[in-house]
Every structure is written in structure tokens, then in C-alpha cells.
Symmetry: D3
């Protein structure tokens, strides 16, 4: 790995980021064609937080948070920091001090494929973090990594500048070049879902609303009246 920091990255356009953030993780993931989702072990360290913004990426050595300090300087107002490790680790690479520093730069949240600490303080600050674990385990600052290179974080490929959307459902990544399209798709989907929700709330069955009865029968589904009829 080349120990580099890329200073200038192309960020997804702000309008798309705004729309995607409003749609939320599950809708965006569907609008993406069911791609881009991080693994479900990535959970908010306190419930209810949300974040949406272009990714600043970090590739770190497990148990070593030196590169997060380096990355802070590359962050701008509205960014989301994404930290991947070169192997699995739950060590507590991030806490209140780094959150204070990110907040001062206008960063909206952190996605961290490792452990997070100072959970109570982060909640009081309302700084949202999605992580693999909560752990007070301290880390060293001795080995270089890289900032703003493509990383695989929790199973998803993240390029610097891609849009990160995170909420209680998890974290999804939208490639910068697709942001506008996915925002459009997601918006349509959401409108469509609003209509469906009303019908379902009024008692219409999904079987009818989605016209599933015929394909189910064709596939061979059989209704019987009692268990012994099987």
C-alpha cells in the first residue's frame, strides 16, 4: 500500500446528497438496484442519528488510528468520514476528542469498520457514528495507511466523494456518478410507496395490490383448508 493522502477529490453534487439523505438507507438501497449496502454489523452507537454526505476515506492498520488524525484535515463541511481497516478489529479507534475535531470542521458523521468509544459523550454531542463494535480499547499511532483512496468498508466499495447515507437501518454507498440518477429513482419510489402505504392501511392486501395471485398459482402454490388436507 502506498502511504498517500489525496488532497482534492471530486465530491458528489450537493443537491443529490440532499435528496438521498431525505430518502433514507432502505429506499436508496432499493433505488440502487439493491447494491451498495454495508454489512448489517454496522450499527449506530446511539439510536436515531442520521447522516448523508460525500465520503472522505481512510484505510487504517487495525489498532492504529494515526490516519484518522491525518484525514481530519482533508474534511470539509458536509462530509462523512469513512474508515476501513486492513483486517478485522474492534479496537476503539475513535472517541470524543476526534469527534470534537470533526464537528469543528463541519463533518456530519463517521462510518467506522472498527470500535468506537466515549459513547455517552458522542450521544450528548449528537455526533452520529456507525461502527462494528463499541470498545474502549486504546490504539497506537505508528503505522501509515492512506486517505482518499478506494476502500472496502464492511463489504462495500467506497470511492472518495461517493455519497454515504446512514440511519438506523445501516449504511449505504452511492457512487458519485450515479447520485443524481439514484436520487431520481428513489424519489419516485418513495412517492409510489406513499400511495401503497395508504392502500395497505385501508386494508387492501399486497396479494391484490401487487397482482401476486396469478404468479403464485402458476408457481404451484396450493391452498388447503386444514393441515390434514396436505
Amino acid at each position: 500500500m502506498k502511504p498517500i493522502v489525496v488532497r482534492n477529490i471530486e465530491r458528489a453534487d450537493a443537491d443529490s446528497v440532499g435528496v438521498l439523505g431525505g430518502l433514507g438507507v432502505s429506499t436508496v438501497h432499493e433505488a440502487m438496484g439493491r447494491l451498495g449496502l454495508m454489512k448489517p454489523y454496522m450499527r449506530p452507537v446511539w439510536p436515531g442519528g442520521e447522516a448523508a454526505g460525500p465520503a472522505i476515506t481512510v484505510l487504517a492498520q487495525p489498532g492504529d488510528n494515526w490516519m484518522i488524525h491525518v484525514a481530519v484535515e482533508q474534511c470539509r463541511r458536509g462530509d462523512v468520514l469513512v474508515v476501513a481497516c486492513s483486517s478485522d478489529s474492534t479496537d476503539g479507534m475513535f472517541g470524543e476528542l476526534l469527534a470534537t475535531s470533526l464537528r469543528a470542521r463541519g463533518v456530519l458523521g463517521l462510518v467506522l469498520d472498527a470500535g468506537c468509544r466515549d459513547v455517552k459523550a458522542l450521544k450528548e454531542m449528537a455526533f452520529p457514528v456507525w461502527s462494528r463494535a463499541i470498545s474502549a480499547k486504546g490504539t497506537v499511532k505508528s503505522t501509515l495507511g492512506a486517505v482518499n483512496v478506494p476502500v472496502v468498508c464492511a463489504g462495500a466499495l467506497v470511492n472518495p466523494g461517493d455519497v454515504i447515507i446512514a440511519d438506523d437501518d445501516g449504511v449505504v454507498v452511492v457512487p458519485a456518478k450515479n447520485a443524481a440518477d439514484v436520487a431520481d429513482q428513489g424519489f419516485k419510489r418513495k412517492t409510489d410507496e406513499d400511495g401503497k402505504r395508504q392502500k395497505l392501511a385501508a386494508g387492501t392486501l399486497g396479494l391484490d395490490m401487487y397482482n401476486m395471485r396469478e404468479p403464485l398459482a402458476k408457481a404451484g402454490l396450493v391452498y388447503v383448508d386444514k393441515p390434514q388436507d396436505v
Copy 2:
């Protein structure tokens, strides 16, 4: 697997369901002779929810929620939907739209051995879900399963109509035919525990209240004054 839907099942009697729901998971599990508990990975997607009712069961292919749509139609007011998968999966098979539909039919909650999404909306709706994971991962609708057949869900056998009790301690299953007996046993146990709680709160030791000193001594327990006396 035969792709069938059983329309008419025998539900546990409503009185027993009511009593069991009031007792809660831990007491019912004890009253059952410590049987019927689902594995502890089944957790509420939001804390504080509770549900008790007869089970409508679904056996689904992992990553495929077609049969949940089929099952909705078989649910009645007061039921709890139980979804098992034919192999382990964390994909998000259930979200706000299906919850809206279940709510419209009077279903009290969902027990799902897979992933759940739209957690924030479910909490706002106060629709309780116990699941293996929280995941936005979308699912397909292409392979048949079965509705109202016996299933193994999170390690527990569930027959259609069995009573499901779920709260912050997890999920327990009571066979329909045993519901009245278990409700009786649980009620006695609860009354008994109320008395014990008062004694313990007043400072009585469990050692004395449960008459443990003699069996402990018989089993060979030795008290020493200091570590070096060992």
C-alpha cells in the same frame, strides 16, 4: 417442501393467551419447564415492545419475502406472525409497508428469523418486531415456501396456533394444547415470586429463603476466612 397454505388452523384459546402475555417471557419459560425459548439472538428492533398471540407461521427461502405477502391474508386480529427461513440469512425481509398491512389486519407483532428494516418507522408505528438482524438488504419474490406448517424458528419448534410471547427478554413458544396449563403454572409462579421479592428486598438472603445452606454443605462447599486459608 410442499408449497402450501393452510387456511384454517386451531388457535390457542384467547384467555390463556391473555394470561401468558401478562406473565412475560421469563416467567412463561420457567412455567414451561424451561422449554420453548428461541435463541437469544432474537432481539426487539426497538426496546419496550411486547406481543402475545397465536402464531401464523411462514417458511420462506432466505432473501425472498414472497410468502410473507401470502401469509398476511391468513392473519386475524390478535395473531403474531412467525417467519422462519430455510437457511440462515440477515436480509431485510420486512419493513414499513408490510407492517402497515399487518396492522390493518390487527396483527400484534412479528417474529422473524432474518433481517428487518425501516426500524425508525416501525418504532413510530409502535409495531413490535423481534429479529435476528437489522438490515436494509432488499429481497426478491420468486420462490414459494409454505404458510401455517410447523417450522423451526431460531431453534424453537412452532406449530400454527401455538402461543407466542415476546418482550425485551426474547421470544418463547407455548404449544396450544398446553396453553391453559402453562398459564396456570405461570400465574402461581408469579404470585410466589411476588412474595419472594418482598422478602429479598427486606434483606432475607436467598441462602436462607431457599434453604440452600444444608445442600451446599453436603455438596462440599467450604468457607475460609482468607485466601491463604485455601
Copy 3:
């Protein structure tokens, strides 16, 4: 294993316990030289609880909570009970009744390398528990263990009388003989961090505050302007 109960243990001094409790897990762990932390699977069963006190230790057979009943008698006001199992188990060894008994003796909290139940009641009582799992699975009372012997709990060695600090970040153990020193170190660290937090909040970069730029350059870190410059 000798089935013994040690009656008189030397507890860490109360002043140090007080200071350590005020510092919290993450600061104490750092002040210890990054030692003594239990594994991150140890989580509070309800969020926001905190406990600090000398350890009463239990070594139990998995699925058997007999020795917890024995240990209650050895607890004094201000203690924290620590329960290790001789092999991994998630069975629910502890619930409301035992909590009532511990509360009556002035015990401040429980650290349990197994499962815990009656979560709702524990939260209402505000009795804090850190455990490996939440499980209603009942346990037997048939096999002896030991009380107030050294135990390995969630990967950390705990001697009776050691200081246990537990909060939302996890659980850390401070050997009784080091308690005063660690309290001093931790207090200095906390004061120092307060100053750093203010600087970072004001926009100073960690890179500058910690003088990292030179060692980073020495280690070979390279800044480039654009990805294609790599």
C-alpha cells in the same frame, strides 16, 4: 476447582474507587497503559447505567447460578459482583429477584459473562448489569463453584477486591494495589484532555496539536493533489 468461599477479602480503597468511577472506562483503561479491559461483547442490558466498586468474584458452572446465591451474602455496600463461567454460555443466570437481593445489600451493579433476564424490571429498578447476552433461559442450582477466587471474566483477570469500572463503553478492571496510581494518572489525563478538547473545538488540528506532521513525513507519508498523481 476447590469449591470454596473466601469470606474476607481486601477491597481497594474507597477514595480511589470514587475517583476511578468519575473518570469512566475509557480514561481508566488508558491510564492503566491500555490494559484490563473486558472484551467488547460485554454490553449494558440497558443504556446509561454506571457502576464502580470493589469486585466480589464468582466462578460458576455454565447454566447454573447456585454460586450467585452464595455470593450475595459476601457482598457489602458499594461492591460490584463479577460472575465468570467455566465455559461460554448465554443462559440467563440473573434476573429481578437476585437484583432485589443485591440491591438490599447495597451492591452497585453486576458484571456477568453469561445471559441476563428481566431486562425491563432491571431498567425500572435502575440496577445496572453488563452481560454477554440477554436470555430468559433458566438455570439449575446443582454444581458448586467458588466465591472470591481469581477469575478470568470476558478475557480479563479479576482478583477479589479489584476495582471494577463499568459504563456504556464497557468494563475495565484495576488491580487493587494499583488503584491509587491509576486514579492519579487518570485524573491527570482527564485534565489534559479537557484542554485538548477546547483547542480541537476551536479548530486546531490534531496534526498540529500533537506535532504529528514531522513524524508522518519521516514515516513516508506523501500528499498528492489528485488521484491520478498517485
Copy 4:
């Protein structure tokens, strides 16, 4: 749980057992309609062993192997012993002595949802065991369970007398009443697969042999010549 031992169970017919054993786990699982498979954490403690026979079932308390001793007496020549635990455990409930006893009664193998020890001796004896873990952790003999009741073992329902088939691919359960049918289905499947294997070995593509090209195109699959054509 009622602490009972059922003495007389109905075993699946020997002819079907013989055929099913010859087919192996993967073929039988397919012939069952993809049902009946235990979870993949069940692995042979030494590779290459195989077993097929009617199940004698045990429900045991975790960390307690008393009921295995009870079950030995109920086993006959050709049986396979299946041990489930009332909660997850890796403790070493079984080793060389019990294997010697089972071998003396003509038992063909053990399926154990817990830990196994004396692996080297078991391999030398060629006594096959499928288990969740290998562990030397000793167990107690203090709490009753049951023998020859229905159990859920590694996610699969096993009734006494059902056919157990186990090999390097895992463990599958065939209900006694379906044994003859599944044996027939499996035999046909195997014959059919032999023909397919020859065609595939000769270079025929599955795409053609299974006539997949048309349904793939219908489903929307697109072939492009180069990545940039996407």
C-alpha cells in the same frame, strides 16, 4: 420438560435407510425438497466418516451428559445417536469411553449439538461424530433431560426413529414416514445426475443441458462485449 425415557420407538425401515445412506447428504437433501438439513456448523470431528441409521434422540442440559449415559441403553445395532441441548454449548459431552460403549451396542455414529473430545482416539476407532465444536471441557451429571422425545438439533426437527444421514457435507434428517419415498426420489436423482455428469465432462454447457438460455434472456440478461459497453 418431563424427564422421561421412551423405550420403544418405531424405526424407519432398514431398506430405505440403506438406500439413503448410499445416496449421501446432498442428494438426500435435494430429494427431500431441500428440507431437513442441520446447520452447517455441524462438522465431522475427523474427515471421511459416514453414518446412516434411525435416530435415538437425547435432550440434554448444556454442560451435562447424564442423559447420554441413559440413552446408550436404548440404542440398538444400526442406530445413530442424536443429542440436542436446551441451549447453546460447546462443552465436551462425549469422548472415547462413551464411544466404546456405543460401539459395543452397534451404534454407527453420533450427531451432537455441543462439543466432542478425544478426537484422536475417535479417529483411531473410526467412530464418526458430527459436532458443533471440539472441546475437552468436562461436563457434570446432575440434571435430567429426556430420551426419545422430539428434539430440535442444529436447527432441524428430529423425531425418534427418523433417518439420520451424515457425511462430509453435513447431516440431514428424513422423517421415518417419508423414508421410502425420499429414497426413491433420491435414487432417480442420482441416476439422472450420473448422466448429466457425463455430458458436462464431455463439454456440454449447463446453459444448454438445462435449457437456460431462453429463461435467462426473458429475465433480462444482457451480454456485452467489453466493460465499456455496459
Copy 5:
């Protein structure tokens, strides 16, 4: 996800593949600067197998092996097939028949982030497979995926044509464009290691051979004669 198959991909040059295969996973991973390694849960289904070749990639739906059938046609002599799933699954997507077909096309091995079956037959055929699990669980053929698109497999990014090296130590990916460089670096490293091995075998200490004594002392390492000297 666009359901596409890319027909023509650029494969890493055969000479580099040959050298990299001879070096083995651990040496290649070091020569890459400690990048490109798949997660350690990827294990050979039988020990001792080795494979090296350009990747044909598949992105499949969990529990659905339709796209593997599609991918076979795109494979050439010397390729290694790499199958990623859109979410975690252990279902048995691959067995003897598909291996027969791949062997007929000259494919050298399979890397599969899911389950594999027919382990005994694969070993007899000497067809090497690295997978997340061994499982007989059958899969459906109903949902499209993609062939020869970039995939994340077991935490590593794989582009079609990249070099896959797999042996008993795991699986590593070398980007096609870096193959020659990494082969050179690896070759030097190997030669260098041969010399070191001889010195170490002769009793030279790594402390001396790597000149570690001075940096260790500088970092603060202290030697004491007895524990009480600490």
C-alpha cells in the same frame, strides 16, 4: 444492478500468473504491501489444494446459483472462478456437477463466498475450492446477477482478469496491472527469505539478523532478571 455478462475481459499475463502461483499466498500478500487478502474465513474445502489464474467474476443473489451456470461459458483454460454474493449466505451453491463442467473448460479452481457441497467428490477430483462454509443446502435458479463485473468477495475487491492466488493460507488478489511488479517483488522476497531461513536454522536470532536490539531499546524495552525486579 444491471444483469449483464461481459464477454471479453483482459486477463493478467500468463507469465506473471505462473510466478505468483509459485510464490504462494503469504509471499504475494507481503509483496503487495500487505493488501489484497480475502478474510480468513475463506478456507479450502479439502487441504493441500492450490490454484493461480485470472479471475472470472460472478455476483450472485444469496441462495441462487443461476449465474454460476452462466459464468461457466465465459471461462477459459487457466482461469479461476470467483463468486461473490450480494449478502452473506452459507448455502451450498456449488458441487460436483458444476466442478465437472469447470474442469471440462480447464478452470483451475473456485473461490466462493458462500457454501460448497460434495466435498468428498471434489477431493477425489482434486478440484480445489475455497469457501465460507461447507453446506449441502440446495439453491434456486431464479434471480439474475452479473458476470465479469467488479465484485467485493470476502472483503477484497476483485476485477475481472485480476490474478487470484489460493492455497492453504487463504486467497489473495493481485490487480492485473500490478501482476508483473508484484511477481518481481515477490520473487526477490522469496530469495531473500531463503537466505534468512538458513541463518535462523543455524541459530542466528531474528533480534540480531534484523538489527532489532537498538530500536527495541530506544522504544523503551527493559530486561529484568526476575519477576520481582519489575
Copy 6:
């Protein structure tokens, strides 16, 4: 943590080590009163190896094998090296070169709570390693740890000089001061087991040999003839 190396440790006496090694892990663990066993995730990287000797202990930072190099110098003929990490890691801290060095000093094996690589070479050298994982992931050499201090390795406390016994059943630790006693107990147990094995092989039931029938009946075990008699 103080970064120290303790040069002179007291090793368990060689005679006891010899006896304990001959008894094997499961027998020694029982003779210890069922204590001292490492967690079952510690598995041999190749099957069939065995090692017994006094422990040289290492506490290392995860992903950093510097201290293993330091520890080699402290090893003598007949020792077993035990490496614990300050937090969970699967990185490959050990391979062929270090094994060559340990072999040159007469070390009999390695117990490593992290990952191991060069598995094929280690098997060819017949150098036995028990580890948490197999992983080619390379490690750094930048942070100090300690050598010959007490460590918790895979859940077991290991003091320098304690006896390590490792085979296919796992790894057990015998405190140096208890080595002679445990060797005696284990020897008696083994002799006793030899007699039992012969009886069991001849068809005597454990129920009779251990006189279990009466305590089982007392505990409430009931025999019924058919399922419907329950």
C-alpha cells in the same frame, strides 16, 4: 503495560511435564478439576501434532509480532511459546521463518491467540501450532509488549513456566506449582479409565458401571414404553 522482558523464570519440573504430556489434554483437564482449558476456538493448524512444555509467555499488540522476535531469545529446549494479544485479532503473526528459529532453539510448539500462516510449510516441518485462525495477513513491528509476564490467552490465565499441554483436543494450562499433583491425579485417572474402557467394550452399561440407576430414579426419571404413554 510495562514493556519488559523477564529473563529468568521458574519452569515446571521436567518429570511432571513428561507425565502430563503423555496423558493428553482431556485427561489433564479432568485431573485439574475441570479448569485451565483454553477456549475451543484454539485449533491445531495441522491435525495430529502434540506438544507439552513450560510456557514462555508473550503479550503482543494485535497485528504486531515484534515481541515474538524478542521472546525467541528467552526460549530453551523443551519450552512451548504462548502468545496472547491485547485485543482480538486474526492477523498472521507467525510463519515459517519464526518456526525455523524456534525449532533451532528446541521449542516444541506454539500457542497463539491470533492468526498463523505458512501452514503447509509448518506441517512439512512438523512444527505444531494452535491458533485462533489461519491468515496470511502480514503484521508490523512497531509497538512494545512484554515477555514472561502473566497473560490471559484464549480465556486461560498463563504464568511463565506453567505447563502447556496441547493436542487435537485443544490446549490446557497447568500451574507450575500444581504440576506434580495433577500428573499424579491424571495418571490414576488414566489407569482407571483403561479399566472402564474394557468393561464398556465388553458390553457393560455405564448406567450399571457408574451405579447411576438409583440416583436417576431419585431425581425423577421415568421410563415409558411408548410415546403415547408420556
